[in-house]
C-alpha cells in the first residue's frame, strides 16, 4: 500500500496586491515537502514577508490558493495557526513583559497543555541561552536576545511547520550562530521549515532547497549547489587588468571562456569575472591567453561562486545593493 502524504505547504498561483496598487506577490507556485527546509531568498521588497503572511493567514490572497497540511489557510485559520510556529520579521515582543512572561503568554494563547507549560518554558529559555535573564524585561534585551526569544517562542507550542522571517536581522554573530544551530536541531527533529532571508550565507548554510524571488516572482529554484552550477559554474576567476579597452564579447572570443561581468573600478583598472567549470586547468590558460591578446594580467584570484553571483547572473543586480 502506498500512502501519499500531502505536501506540508502547497502554494498555487498566489497573487497579493497591497491597497490595489503594489503587486507584492505575483503568481507564485511552490510546494514544501514534509521535513524539508526551504529558504526563500531575495532582496528587500522581493515579497518574502508578504508570502509568509499569506501562509499564516494574516493576509488574504488577492487570488490563488495557500494550503497547509492539505487545509486551505483562509478557511481554517485557528487550526492552521496552532500548527505553525511563526517568527515574524519584526520579532513582535511585548517590551513590558519579562522573557518568562512572554513565553507564558504565548503558551496560553496557543493552548499549550497546562501541565507542560513550566517544563517547556524552561527548556525554551535554555535553548535561547536566556535562563539567567528570564525575569528581565524584554525592553532591556539586545537585538540578538530579542531574536533568540522570538525564535523559541515560535517553537513553544510544538508545531510541525516553522516559519522564520529574517531570523538573523539585527543580530550579533554569537546569536546568529546559536539561532542557526537551533534551526538545524529542529530540522533534525523532522520539522518542516520555511525561512526568508536576504543573506546568501544564511541561505547557503541552512537550506535544503532554495527559491530565489524578486519582484514577487520566482526567478529560480533548486539546491544551492544546483543553482550555482546551473547559473554560474563551478568556479569564478576574477582578473584585474589596467587600461582595458575591449568588451565582454571580444574577451570571451579571445579566451574561450564565458565572461560573467566586467566592472571598471575608480582607479581605472577593470575587474573581469569569468565563469569556469574547471578552475585549476582554466586559470593558467586564461592568464596566457590574455597576455597573448595584449592584455597583461595585474592580479588574479579564483573562488567558488556564491548565491549572490547566481542572483547577479540572473537579474543583473546584486542581492544587497
Amino acid at each position: 500500500m502506498v500512502i501519499v502524504l500531502p505536501f506540508m505547504v502547497e502554494i498555487r498561483d498566489l497573487t497579493f496586491v497591497y491597497d490595489g496598487q503594489v503587486k507584492a506577490v505575483d503568481n507564485l507556485s511552490f510546494n514544501i515537502e514534509q521535513g524539508e527546509i526551504l529558504g526563500l531568498l531575495g532582496p528587500n521588497g522581493a515579497g518574502k514577508s508578504t508570502t509568509v503572511k499569506l501562509l499564516m493567514g494574516v493576509l488574504k490572497p488577492t487570488s490563488g490558493s495557500v494550503k497547509v497540511a492539505g487545509l486551505e489557510v483562509s478557511e481554517n485559520l485557528a487550526e492552521i495557526r496552532r500548527r505553525i510556529g511563526f517568527m515574524p520579521q519584526e520579532t513582535a515582543l511585548y517590551h513590558e513583559l519579562t522573557a518568562q512572561e512572554t513565553l507564558e503568554y504565548h503558551a496560553e494563547l496557543y493552548g499549550v497543555p497546562k501541565n507542560e507549560i513550566d517544563e517547556r518554558i524552561s527548556r525554551m529559555l535554555k535553548l535561547a541561552g536566556l535562563t539567567d535573564r528570564k525575569d528581565d524585561l524584554v525592553r532591556t534585551f539586545s537585538g540578538g536576545m530579542k531574536r533568540r526569544l522570538a525564535l523559541v517562542r515560535s517553537i513553544l507550542h510544538d508545531s510541525d511547520l516553522l516559519i522564520f522571517d529574517e531570523m538573523s536581522l539585527g543580530v550579533d554573530v554569537q546569536s546568529r550562530n546559536l539561532i542557526w544551530n537551533r534551526v538545524r536541531d529542529m530540522k533534525r527533529e523532522g520539522r518542516t521549515i520555511l525561512f526568508c532571508t536576504n543573506y546568501m550565507d544564511e541561505a547557503e548554510a541552512l537550506a535544503d532547497r532554495l527559491i530565489i524571488i524578486d519582484h514577487g516572482r520566482i526567478i529560480t529554484e533548486g539546491t544551492p549547489r544546483e543553482l550555482k552550477q546551473q547559473h554560474v559554474g563551478e568556479y569564478l576567476i576574477e582578473v584585474m587588468v589596467d587600461d582595458f579597452e575591449h568588451d565582454e564579447f571580444w574577451l570571451s572570443q579571445e579566451i574561450g571562456l564565458d565572461v560573467d561581468s566586467l566592472v571598471v573600478g575608480m582607479t581605472g583598472s577593470t575587474l573581469i569575472t569569468v565563469k569556469s567549470d574547471d578552475g585549476p586547468k582554466d586559470l593558467p590558460r586564461l592568464i596566457t591567453a590574455m597576455s597573448n591578446a595584449g592584455v597583461p594580467v595585474k592580479q588574479v584570484s579564483m573562488r567558488e561562486p556564491s548565491l549572490d553571483d547566481v542572483f547577479l547572473s540572473l537579474t543583473g543586480s546584486r542581492l544587497r545593493d
Binding site: 497591497y18 491597497d19 503572511k53 499564516m56 494574516v58 493576509l59 488574504k60 485559520l77 485557528a78 487550526e79 495557526r81 496552532r82 511563526f86 515574524p88 519584526e90 520579532t91 513582535a92 515582543l93 511585548y94 517590551h95 513590558e96 513583559l97 512572561e101 507564558e104 503568554y105 504565548h106 496560553e108 494563547l109 496557543y110 493552548g111 524585561l137 517562542r153
Partner: protein
Amino acid sequence: MLRELTAVIKKDLRQAKRDPRFVAPSLIVPFVLLLVYSILWTSVGGGESFYCGLVVLDDTPQAENMAAIIENMRSTTNHTWFSIQRYNKSEAERLFSEGSLIAYILIPEGFGDNISSGEKANIILFCNNINDDVVKNYIHRVEAAVLLFNQGAYSPDFNQTDAPIAIEESYSYSQTPGNLEYMGASAIMLSVIVCAVAGQALSTASEFESKAIYETLNSPSPRTAIILGHTLASIPRTLLILFITLPIVYISLDVVPIGNPIVLFLILLITILALVPFGEMIGIVTKKREQALLGSVLFSVVCFLMGGGLAPVAILPIEFRIFSVLLPITHSLTLWNRVFFLNTTTGLVFGFTALVAFWVLGTIAVSYMTGREVERC
C-alpha cells in the same frame, strides 16, 4: 476562550503597571479644569450670558412698575448676573421646557388689581434648579425686586405679612449642588474618563510600536476574546485612579456622593466600557505612545466640555446639543452628576442604554479596525 481572556487581561495589567504614564493626565486634566472653573465661578460669575425671561400678563401700571424694577436692577457685586429678556407666555414656556431658558419670571393677570384692592399679589419664578448657585442667584434677584417694590419696607422691621407682594419659595428638589460641588463631582468622573481612554490608547499604541500586537492577533485566539480581554483589563486599571481622586475631592471640597453608591459604581463601570473602544481607536490611529496620550487628553477634554462640563447641555444651541448626544461622555456626566447629588433613578434607563450602545458599536468598530490594521503591518 477563558484561558486566552485571562492571559490578555494579565498581560494588559502588567503592561499598565510597568508603563503607568496614563495616570498623569488622569490627575492633571480634572484638577486643572477644576482650578480654572473655581477661578471662573468666583471672580467672573456667569456674567450677562445667562438670560432670565420675563413674562408680563397684566397691563396695569403696577405690573409695569414691577417689570421695570426687574429689568433695570444692576448688580452691585461680582456674583452671577443675568440679562432680562421679555417673552410672551407661550414662548417662555416653550424655551423653558426645551431647557434653553434656565428661568423666567411671570407677573400674572390681576397683579395690579390685587395690589389696588389690598389683597396679596403674586409673582412666580420658574427656575430649573439643576444647580443651587444658579437658583439662588435668581431668587435673590426676585427678592431684591420685591423689596424695592415694597418701598420703605426694609429689614429688620420688614414684615412680609403686611407687604403687598409675598415671596413664597418652594423647591421641587430638596437639595441641589453648588457650582464647586458640581465641579468636584465632575472632576471625579473626568479622571475616570481620561484614565479609561488614555490607559487603553497607551496600551494599544505600545502594542503597535513594538509590533507585539501581531503576536496576539496572529495567534489562534478568537478576536472576541482578545478585545473583551482588553476591555475587562481596563476596568481595574481605570478604577484605581479613584483611590487618588476621591480623597482629593473630599478633602479639598468636602464633596461626598449622596446617591446610591451601587448605582454610582455601575455608572463608572458602564462609562469605562463605553470609552475603552474610543481609547483603542485612538491607539490604533496614532500608533505612537506620546501621540496616543495627547490624543486621549484632547478627546476627553473636548467631549467633556461639549458633554455638559462647561455648561448644562440643555442650554447649548441645538446643533451642539445634537452633537453632544452623540458623545458617550455626555451621558456619563449626566448620569453621574444626577445620581451623585440626588437619590434618584429617573433617566437612568436612557443613559445606561445609550452607554451600552456606545460600548457595542465601539467594540464592533474596533474589531473592524484591528482587522484592517493587521493586514497592513
